[in-house]
Amino acid sequence: MHRREALKNVAFLLGGAISATTMGVLFESFTLPENEKNYVSFTADQEKVLAEFAEIIIPTTKSAPGAKAAGVGKFIPMMVKDCYPAKMQQAFAEGLKEMEAKSLKDFNKEFLLLTVAERTKLVGEIRDETIIKKKADKAAKKNEGYFFVIARDLTILGYFSSEIGCTQARSYVAIPGRYDGAAPLKPGQKSWAT
């Protein structure tokens, strides 16, 4: 297999689940001037908000703990600051504030005080709005970065590369030692983490 398979494997495992924008940012050439690094910063409360957001994206289920337990609340803002160009950092930070504002407006409560049902409804609405906005922007050939898309992408990346994501939600063998290309699939078997 050619070296390129290595990247394809990463792309493949996260697959259609991750947006083209994030694939582009993480794997291709986006650069920014030195002075635009760490354009935004996040408060401890916002990390908590992001952890709860991530838990809605990938919740705790019978099979494995969710994104909150996997530490995705801290992972998202770190990645946004280190790995995204300034414009997208800004779009992300604004989107996060808008989500907090929407919570106050729709439920008269801060995001962190919402019930899971309320949060799920709110996140679903933001998702639907994002899909509409993406379609309009695509027609106008714009791609400015969307809070929901970036936050969801980083939740998926952070979760499925975390210890919980690899070893509990999926299966992980550090050193397989052999290859079997026709292994029987056992009932309930989880997919490989890597």
């Binding site: 920014l32 690899c166 290309g181």
Partner: protein, 566 residues
């Protein structure tokens, strides 16, 4: 005066090898084993086997950015980030492009690794022999110059290189991709086995599919461990299970006690002695102190990677060699080639839902060249091969746009569809006008001028890509795949990291730089055995050929040295 004499004696060796990658490592091994005292110069840092592979045993969650690059890394590596190879897990092995700029007259993605081992640490490890078709194509269709050797000249050296390096693969009796001295092959998975059977039946064995021939050990070999199926090769292998300078040639050279390895040694130029008409040695810039120094030897092997070596030769000017060392032909720097790829097809396999894989095979399938063979004449010359494979994804493709929640999580953790992909690797013709030259308007971190690259794919490559895409779809169709999709993601020279040419071998000193022994026509104690020597590039991955040519040239050089012909 005494001091100077001592210094000169101290800095004098039997042979100097410039570069420590795949071909440099082989040169060091062969020359030391034949009794020469060798100085191997490497422009970058030292990398010690195992000890300096800090990410090799890390789990995915132990990488801060989970394998992804930061904006800071992207800023200093604007070329290396153009494609996937530069990653968090091996970032220290890719050059800081700002320190080593080059000029792109046309886009050329130049991937470089400056450290002991060079790209032997990060290479793709696919190892295929060239065949007589490949050695004869230039002479037959008139592109480029005739190879000065044929398959029979190199075949025993392929045997020799494979036996030492450890290449796993299957014998297929396919004339365009000769069999070799293989370790047991890796397994095809169940879908690949089905595709192989159906392709070979459909085309009545006019096309075949095999497991990749790869420099990964399937059994322990010469004190090295076998592959553990982690597929993390490019971090460096703590088991020594794939061929690299560190795992293979360097320990062999060190065992002779005749090798001196000097990292951080940038060879600026080869010193030419007009009286003896030979190379006297090399001028080196210490990459850390910027101090210059000279080293001397009876023979010089140039193994600094295709364009690295060509830069050194172009930069080695003197009254006798005003346009670069050994460049009376005017061919030095010309005929730059790279494979073109990034097009093919993929499809979904049905009927294998009760099967899954165990282990991560660091290898895929190979379909060797079948086009323009015998009487067939396509609307382009030469041909291509395919690499690819089948694997099983999750159910993610079935989820709604931007889905989330418990059901989404379940689908992301449940084995889904089997897919099979075929990606073409096509031969590029040698064109004189695809060239590199020295650009004195820019300087690198050490004050050296830089290389300018002017290279593009032409009509032949563009026409070939249509077949590369359509043939892949047709073969997947014949294999019973569903939802077949073709793609051509576009390709620029350099992307395959198989850059070759620019100091070609040939029979005639008027039209080539090197003779049949990789020896410079004009300066007979200089040998160039990396990718720059290639008169054509076939469509196979080339490193095994560099190994064989290097071992062959070393054998010749030492014999000539003993006969006092050099």
């Amino acid at each position: 005066m005494n001091l100077n004499t001592n210094l000169k004696a101290e800095n004098t060796y039997d042979a100097i090898v410039i570069g420590s990658g795949i071909s440099g490592g082989w040169a060091a091994k062969e020359l030391t084993e034949k009794g020469l005292r060798v100085l191997m110069l490497e422009r970058g840092m030292n990398v010690e086997h195992i000890k300096d592979y800090p990410s090799a045993m890390k789990n995915p969650w132990e990488f801060e950015h989970r394998g992804k690059l930061t904006e800071a890394q992207k800023a200093t590596h604007p070329v290396q980030i153009r494609d996937y190879p530069y990653q968090e897990a091996n970032e220290k092995w890719w050059v800081n492009d700002l320190e080593c700029p080059y000029t792109e007259d046309k886009r050329f993605d130049w991937y470089r690794g400056f450290h002991v081992g060079g790209k032997s640490l990060m290479w793709g490890r696919q190892s295929y022999r060239f065949s007589d078709h490949n050695f004869e194509d230039n002479a037959k269709d008139g592109h480029g110059n005739d190879w000065p050797i044929r398959y029979k000249d190199i075949a025993p050296w392929y045997d020799y290189a494979e036996r030492f390096a450890g290449i796993s693969g299957s014998k297929e009796n396919w004339p365009l991709c000769p069999d070799g001295e293989f370790l047991p092959p890796m397994d095809l998975n169940i879908v690949e086995k089905s595709v192989k059977a159906r392709i070979e039946e459909h085309y009545k064995k006019a096309r075949i599919m095999m497991i990749g021939r790869v420099a990964n050990l399937t059994v322990p070999h010469k004190g090295r461990g076998n592959c553990q199926y982690r597929n993390l090769c490019s971090r460096g292998c703590p088991f020594g299970a794939y061929f690299s300078t560190q795992s293979s040639t360097l320990p062999a050279a060190m065992a002779t006690n005749r090798l001196t390895l000097r990292p951080y040694s940038i060879v600026n130029h080869i010193i030419y002695d007009k009286d003896t008409k030979k190379a006297k040695g090399v001028m080196v810039i210490d990459a850390q102190t910027n101090k210059t120094m000279e080293f001397y030897a009876k023979i010089v092997f140039v193994n600094g990677s295709t364009l690295g070596s060509t830069f050194i030769l172009l930069n080695s000017t003197s009254e006798a060699h005003p346009n670069g060392l050994g460049n009376a032909s005017g061919q030095l720097g010309h005929n730059l080639m790279d494979h073109h790829f990034r097009c093919g097809a993929s499809g979904e396999a049905e009927g294998f839902d009760d099967k899954y894989t165990y282990g991560r095979r660091a290898n895929g399938i190979y379909v060797p060249r079948y086009r323009n063979v015998g009487d067939e004449k396509r609307d382009y010359l030469r041909g291509f091969g395919y690499q690819g494979g089948a694997s099983r994804s999750n159910w993610q493709n079935d989820v709604a746009e931007l889905a989330f929640g418990a059901d989404f999580k379940d689908k992301m953790t449940t084995p889904g569809k089997w897919t099979m992909g075929l990606g073409g690797f096509g031969e590029m013709l040698p064109y004189y006008e695809n060239k590199v030259y020295i650009d004195k308007t820019k300087k690198d971190k050490w004050g050296q001028p830089v290389l300018a690259i002017d290279c593009e794919y032409k009509e032949n490559e563009k026409k070939m890509r249509i077949d590369m895409m359509n043939d892949a779809a047709e073969m997947l169709e014949a294999s019973g795949m569903k939802n077949i999709k073709t793609y051509d993601n576009g390709c620029y020279p350099g992307m395959a990291i198989h850059e070759m040419g620019t100091a070609r071998m040939g029979k005639d000193p008027k039209t080539s730089v090197l003779n049949e022994w990789n020896q410079m026509h004009e300066v007979n104690n200089v040998f160039v055995t990396d990718g720059s020597c290639m008169p054509s590039i076939a469509c196979q991955n080339p490193s095994l050929t560099f190994m064989a040519l290097t071992a062959r040239a070393c054998d010749y050089a030492v014999k000539e040295l003993k006969k006092k012909n050099i």
